[in-house]
Amino acid sequence: MTTTTESAGLAQRRRQYQAQAFWKRALKRPEAGALGGAILVFIFFWVMAPPFRQFAAFTTVLYEAATIGIPAVAVALLMIGGEFDLSAGVAVTTSSLAGSMFATQVAGSLWMGVVFALFFSLGVGALNGWLLIRTKLHSFLVTLGSFLMLQGLNIAVTKLITGNVATQDISGMAGFNTLQLIFASNFMIGRAQVSITIFYWLLFIALATWVLLRTKIGNWIFAVGGEADSSRAVGVPVKRVKVGLFMSVGFGCWFLAMHQLFAYDTVQSGAGIGNELLYIAASVVGGCLLTGGYGSAVGSALGAFIFGMSTEGVIYADWDPDWFQFFVGAMLLLATVVNTWIRVRAMRGR
């Protein structure tokens, strides 16, 4: 009699404890703050901007977020691994230029162009990683160098090969339709156009989260970002992990590059500058530490989503366009302050 009531009470207490622990654990995740910020920004524009409430607006925001989010997922992994990549924004343009020019000028086949661009992007990533390891400089400096070099190469090589600063229209070439279907197709849900990039983005987030939390490589990434020397001492292949991380940024850039190439047919060789900061910002807003060793892939997605909502939301709210960048910046700052507030609260442990 007494034992049964006692065990029932115990079970109840355990349930309570577990529920609390789950909430606490959830709040302690790196992306918890970003989720709070995202919800806040969402509610804000929902109230302020009636056109923001339609589903079509939501898919527009997601598209903008996806084009930042795809490289940002890889950049987040890299930042957890303790490194920066300032070349990522321009590397997207490099990759689409490489693909387009290889296809039109060398191979005569778009498929070959796509494959060439992939290897090229992975190569740029590997080169960044290799330079980092050989020179032992900070990744900030190494990739600043490659950022500027790629920027110059983009324009110089494009001009050398095509005689112009934009590539030829590739929409007439064989295979364009299939490739466009793969990288840049749109379909309608109701009256809203949805881009396939959104789904690829979700896929990459899931993949990166799985790698980070469920695999040995994930542990290695956290380890090299947190304490590179100690992790080397316990047998983590630090160099290979870092090169691998730079190459995955290369992959992210390639993927977005192929989307841009097949969605917009021609490439302006000056594009992409400044976007590297958006990728880094998305990761940081999403909870990655600038010092490495902490962060999440989901967080980078939420960061990109916050940025997408802020830029589009200002337009939906029809605020004075002269103030556009100011509003975007203010919204980002607001979201990040909320993030940090939530994170600090959660970390206090009670």
Binding site: A49, P51, Q54, A56, A57, T60, V61, Y63, E64, T67, Q151, N154, I155, T158, K159, G163, N164, V165, A166, D169, N186, R191, Q193, H259, Q260, A263, Y264, D265, T266, Q268, S269, G270, A271, G272, I273, G274, N275, G308, T311, E312, I315, Y316, D318, P321, D322, F324, Q325
Partner: protein, 314 residues
């Protein structure tokens, strides 16, 4: 030993790079002219200007230094830079007149003749430049406003890719002056096409009554067409400046028109005006700007223009 070898490789590759960059062509008594613009690197439009400038430089036996930066203080710095190089003449865009004014004064004090082109049609006289080649952007904007009236547009969005550049503002303001309906500016930042598409899409969803979008650069026009399809809008598209793709789309009837300011002529004239002044003391324009536009490219004349656009000179 291995280390030494690596050093040699490094040294050799540096030399190779230096060779690639090319030695300056040292001909005797060649005039040196600097061209300084606010171009965003890798923009088709500016490349056409540069081709025009190169053509004039080749004809006039001029060594041309081309430098560009899209931000105000850096463009001003470039002017200072070429003054220190003691060039024989400077052709520049007055996109940021106030920021550039001190550098322009310094150049004039050093006795270097300056002509303006492309941007600063309202400022070149007050800054005492020798001449100006370009489109009066306000005039072009007004012409577009009239065209929009003629076509019966009611609600126009003016898509500006570089907030704060006077010549782009002048176009939108010109439209506002003569256009009888409602007009509004939408800013985008440079050539990040997915962002351009998303923002235009957002604008069209925010205000479904928009029936015309005027882009201030031709590369944006096809992207705006995409955004129009995506948002289910019925808006039409016209553009300032041209590109081969845009001309194709005009011929197909997807884009209504392009306002050509003939950038090739701007680059050519700017260099040629300096050459005339330095070699013969001539000035061109009789105290007024030499207007290179606006010239409307429509479905009717698209084919004739397309030939030159494909070569990258129009």
């Amino acid at each position: 030993m291995r280390h030494l070898k690596r050093m040699t490789v490094l040294a050799l590759s540096t030399c190779a790079l230096a060779l690639l960059a090319g030695p300056a062509n040292a001909q005797q008594k060649q005039m040196t002219i600097a061209m300084i613009t606010h171009a965003q690197p890798g923009d088709t439009f500016w490349d056409i200007i540069r081709k025009g400038a190169n053509a004039a430089a080749a004809k006039d036996n001029v060594k041309l230094i081309y430098l560009a930066d899209p931000t105000a203080d850096k463009e001003a710095q470039l002017i200072n830079n070429v003054v220190e190089q003691h060039v024989d003449g400077i052709a520049l865009t007055l996109a940021f007149p106030d920021a550039e004014a001190p550098a322009v004064k310094a150049a004039q004090k050093a006795g270097i003749p300056i002509v303006g082109f492309n941007a600063g049609v309202g400022q070149w006289k007050s800054q005492d430049l020798l001449g100006y080649a370009g489109q009066d952007e306000a005039v072009a904007g007004k012409a577009v406003g009239e065209e929009l009236n003629k076509e019966g547009a009611k609600n126009v969005v003016c898509l500006d890719q570089q907030q704060g550049a006077v010549q782009l503002e002048a176009r939108c303001n010109g439209i506002k002056d003569t256009f009888k309906g409602k007009s509004e500016v939408l800013y985008v930042t440079g050539y990040d096409m997915p962002t351009v598409k998303a923002r235009v899409q957002a604008k069209l969803q925010q205000d479904p009554s928009v029936d015309y979008v005027v882009t201030l650069g031709a590369p944006f026009a096809p992207v705006v067409l995409d955004a129009i399809t995506a948002s289910g809008s019925k808006a039409k598209v016209g553009t300032f400046d041209m590109s081969p793709v845009a001309i194709d789309l005009i011929a197909k009837g997807n884009i209504q028109w392009a306002v050509d300011q003939q950038p090739y002529v701007e680059g050519y004239e700017a260099v040629d005006m300096l050459w005339l002044y330095v070699t013969n003391g001539d000035t061109v324009g009789g105290g007024e700007a030499v207007l290179t536009g606006p010239f409307f490219v429509t479905k009717d004349n698209a084919e004739a223009v397309a030939k030159y656009a494909k070569n990258g000179t129009r």
